[in-house]
């Protein structure tokens, strides 16, 4: 058993690591896009722009209220019939970004509300212009307040990225399934895969705890 396991690891590790590489690329790029999207939505919603704010709220609820698998199917299988043709990787990136963006917008909206009202009022009293208040008073505090939930969302995004295997994105889960189908070896590859995910997520949450203490050092 042990010999076959180590033999397996030596033979298939490069392919599994290539899959892990795609998982990490998709995760990090969709995380960046999701955070930008979430910030934009949070600020637009708070701005109370007629129609736009309400429409965005409704959209966020729809994205949060349906499974990511169904959203990926819509992007991958249904979008071509309205003329949008995307390959699996693009669907994966866009799907994860939109899904994550909806959740991040809630995180940032919550953090924005938690910024003490008195700080904004004090800044207004000093005659600082609204844009500058948003940029220099609200934004930095909101960012540090949102760190714990943001780390949770990043972990969620990493776990959801496994779903991309269903629409044939060559990430860790789909590479492992391919190896299983080729070798008829089931236990070793899948347990190795689960172990890799566990390791990556443990690293993300450890890094998150470090960032959290760093970001809240002024509180």
């Amino acid at each position: 058993m042990m010999a076959s396991v180590s033999g397996f690891v030596v033979e298939y590790a490069p392919r599994m690591l290539a899959g892990l590489k795609w998982t990490l690329i998709l995760w990090s790029s969709s995380a960046i896009l999701a955070i930008c999207l979430g910030l934009t939505i949070a600020f637009i919603r708070r701005g109370n722009i007629p129609f736009l704010s309400a429409a965005l709220s409704a959209l966020v609820n729809v994205v949060r209220g349906t499974p990511i698998l169904v959203q990926l199917f819509l992007l991958y299988y249904a979008a071509p019939s309205v003329g949008i043709r995307l390959d699996a990787l693009a669907v994966g990136l866009i799907g994860l970004s939109i899904y994550g963006g909806a959740y991040f917008s809630e995180v940032f909206a919550g953090a924005l509300k938690a910024v003490p009202r008195g700080h904004v009022e004090a800044a207004q009293m000093l005659g600082i212009r609204p844009r500058r208040i948003a940029r220099r008073i609200e934004f930095p505090q909101m960012l540090s307040l949102s760190v714990p939930s943001s780390v949770n969302q990043l972990i969620m995004l990493m776990k959801e990225s496994a779903v991309l295997s269903i629409i044939t994105v060559p990430e860790l889960t789909s590479v492992t399934t391919k190896i299983v189908n080729e070798t008829f070896e089931v236990a070793t590859p899948y347990l190795l895969m689960a172990g890799l995910y566990w390791l990556v997520i443990e690293i993300i949450s450890a890094a998150g705890r470090w960032v959290e203490t760093w970001a809240t050092r002024h509180f």
């Binding site: 199917f73 819509l74 019939s81 776990k159 399934t177 566990w198 443990e202």
Partner: protein, 221 residues
């Protein structure tokens, strides 16, 4: 778009939605019992209870720290290799979702147990209630009441994640959508239809959560 194909498939869609609800509900319930058992048996200072506590910590970390899809694959494909018996898709799906939600629910209940003051346990002991009677009659109702908000989120998460069991060919809502898309060559209508149904179900859970909160707030629950 032509939604008449969807109206023709109303019956399988309803069956799929019913399966989704049953699987999610059963998993939330079974996972909840397991989570409560974990939360109530974590105490103790003997060597065995220390080992038990370590086991729970590893269990929770494993199920919270890996994708549900990976858990589903491991339980459906890998577990039979070690145990030596085939497991059907449906029980495998329930088992995976239950264990997954048990890990998340045990964290929820642990937090709510912490916020109940210890004086209540002492008072219960004083009036002669046994350990389990205290847990079931004094602590459990309060824990359920305190955790309505994270539990609403957890139920929504499980309902949405139950779409993944289509991968091991359980005929739930997503699988029905795939079947309709394949049979009618109309993926847009099929996937929009199941998205709408999922959204209806999760919205209902949100509304139920708010009604529950109001009842709790007025002290009626």
């Amino acid at each position: 778009m032509d939604f008449s194909v969807i109206l023709n498939s109303a019956a399988p869609l309803a069956r799929g939605a019913a399966t989704t609800i049953v699987v999610s509900g059963l998993s939330i319930f079974l996972g909840g019992i397991l989570a409560m058992a974990f939360v109530f048996t974590r105490q103790g200072t003997t060597k065995i209870s220390l080992m038990w506590r370590t086991f729970i910590a590893v269990f929770v970390s494993l199920f919270r720290g890996t994708p549900l899809l990976a858990q589903l694959i491991v339980i459906f494909y890998v577990l039979p290799v070690f145990v030596g018996i085939e497991i059907n898709p449906f029980p495998a799906a329930i088992l995976t979702l239950s264990l997954n939600t048990a890990a998340f629910q045990s964290e929820i209940y642990r937090a709510s147990l912490k916020s109940i003051s210890y004086g209540q346990i002492e008072a219960a002991q004083m009036v002669g209630l046994g350990v389990w009677r205290t847990r079931l009659r004094i602590l459990l109702p309060q824990m359920l009441r305190l955790s309505w908000e994270p539990m609403t989120n957890e139920i929504i998460t499980i309902l949405k994640n139950s779409s993944l069991i289509s991968v091991i060919s359980v005929i739930e809502l997503t699988r029905v959508g795939q079947q309709i898309a394949g049979a009618t060559f109309r993926p847009s209508e099929a996937y929009v239809a199941i998205a709408v149904l999922y959204f209806l179900m999760t919205s209902l859970i949100v509304v139920a959560g708010h009604l529950l909160r109001r009842r709790i707030a007025t002290g009626a629950a």
